[in-house]
Symmetry: C2
Subunit: 348 residues, 2 copies
């Protein structure tokens, strides 16, 4: 006889336009029997930690505003379970590759349990002696995004000048740390005095500034990079991208990792000067982490080394309880978090 539980999960009440707010979300509940048919391929996972990421907002928009993204990140319907990266524990498995009790990492849900059928993206997790939360951020998608984006897309050389926006974010803080360890000169920007101090004093960025205190971003970047920028790791788009392109050196590279300015304002655009792009032979390249799984094992071994020698710091911002997901998510767009935002849903 199988146990029946109530599975609580977060859903949107309607499509979201602009900044998300608490009333856009609701907690829904379904009864769930914690068993599966043998060899059904179905798996039920008890969710432990889930990732909270800005890109999810693009999936919550109405079809018309998110259709461009719909082939790459499946649009969400109101009331629907929301899939998200995270760590959990198998409670029932119809897939011979997984057993009850296995720790797993991959696409689970913003819920207490994940019911995975058909094709799902999940693998067994060996925590390697690290806290489970590390496997959501540092050793998860955020870490791989930073690692692949910096090394594969930006193709850095030692001594180059690197600028990172949203530098206290889940990806930005790691890009800065990877860049510094690699021997680059790293400057970050963030949205508060506290974050700027954190970047300089805790993470060892060579310099940092609060973009909210600046009125002329081109002049600001000229001040921080008198010799120009070789690499801009862009998480924000808009004016910051324009200012970075204006301050780039020849053969400069821009990795477009995120465009948070557009996520909440569909009309917002960056208009970098294409004369700069041409004369300075700049490359602007968008990327998604999903194209870079081929370097996953390289990423893990390098990062684990850095963690064991204490060369890299893990910056996490963890809320607790399923019901904290909406506010955790909303906070991303207010700049509330420092480091990787996630929600702990249950103890192991």
């Amino acid at each position: 006889m199988s146990m029946e539980v109530t599975n609580n999960y977060i859903a949107i009440k309607s499509h979201i336009d602009g900044n998300p707010k608490e009333s856009d979300f609701e907690i829904k509940s379904d009864p769930l029997v914690l068993s599966v048919e043998p060899n059904s391929n179905e798996i039920i996972v008890k969710n432990l930690y889930v990732s909270i990421d800005p890109y999810q907002l693009n999936r919550m928009k109405s079809f018309s505003s998110s259709q461009k993204a719909s082939s790459y990140a499946v649009a969400l319907a109101p009331g629907q379970v929301i899939d998200a990266y995270g760590v959990g524990k198998v409670v029932a498995s119809g897939n011979p590759e997984f057993e009850k009790g296995d720790l797993v990492v991959g696409l689970i849900t913003w819920g207490e349990y994940s019911v995975l059928k058909g094709e799902y993206m999940l693998r067994k997790l060996d925590p390697l002696g690290f806290p489970l939360s590390y496997h959501v951020g540092m050793l998860g998608f955020s870490g791989l995004t930073a690692y692949a984006g910096f090394f594969e897309i930006c193709k850095p050389k030692k001594g180059e000048n690197v600028f990172v926006s949203a530098a206290c974010g889940s990806v930005g803080n790691l890009v800065g740390q990877f860049a510094k360890l690699f021997g680059c000169h790293v400057v970050g920007c963030a949205g508060s005095k506290k974050k700027v101090a954190f970047l300089k004093e805790k993470l060892g960025f060579h310099d940092a500034f609060n973009y909210k205190e600046e009125t002329d971003l081109k002049a600001t970047l000229k001040r921080y990079f008198p010799d120009g920028i070789d690499i801009y790791f862009d998480n924000v788009g808009a004016e910051m991208l324009e200012a970075a392109v204006a301050n780039m050196k020849i053969f400069g590279r821009v990795a477009v990792c995120g465009v948070i300015s557009e996520y909440t304002d569909a009309g917002k655009r960056a208009a970098p000067d294409m004369m700069d792009v041409m004369y300075k032979r700049i490359t602007i390249r968008g990327f998604l982490v999903g194209d870079h799984f081929n370097i996953h094992s390289d990423f893990i071994s390098t990062t684990v080394d850095h963690l064991q020698t204490g060369n890299i710091q893990v910056i996490e911002d963890i809320s607790t309880g399923l019901e904290s997901i909406p506010l955790a998510f909303i906070g991303l767009f207010r700049g509330d978090n420092i480091g990787k935002k996630m929600v702990k849903i249950a103890d192991e």
Copy 2:
């Protein structure tokens, strides 16, 4: 005893803002003795054909508006001799590598004679049985720009969809021809019915359209590329770049070869959607032909093969006489030319 001649040349009267006009230019004259000191390294070249290219306008602007370009393309002062790509014949040489009577190609001047001292960019020309004009366009910088831009920057695959703007221009028409020969599906845009017919009927573009007849460029490109664009070879910037990015397929590539929309209007900008760039993993890359001399011999041998088999057409638009240079140049920005614009200054 050496002959003394009058060397007439074209100069700007003052810096240019916006579209160039006849009154921006003047013909100046200097007396010139057609001899040089032995081993002085100086060379005097009688100019035969000179290239007329849009990028020269960026060198004619006031310092404040062209400073960004000044490190890459030296700014021109009013009254100064204007250097330009072209073909000529050596009339006096203090450089043991060149002899009187040698045909040469490289940076000469918008004048009757070029007096080259210090460092100059010149090489002996073997016409390979082709008209000298071919070595200004098809087998010169325009050809190498098209070849390097398409093969090195765009990295095409057979069967891909290629869009070329300013497709009747010196570079655009060759990109289209190279792309078709390579096995891509090619659509071009230009600014008149006559040019569109020329692209389809004479150059064998799979399709072409007159952008001046279109009101919604995104919808236009959707119509010509229902499955999306893999490669956009951009000569114009602005709205066309925005529309191309909106219609790109995943892993699409944009080569930024020219930004003619900005040359005459410094405030003009392209604002491509960076959400598209990210989700579709688009690469936008600027380039200059000067970085690609390493493939020059490959370019020449491939192109000579195509010329000999009649697979590629040489489209030239030649004016005659030094005094025709200003109107030839001004015409570039009115879209007067079909194919490579140049001026024949003298007979061999």
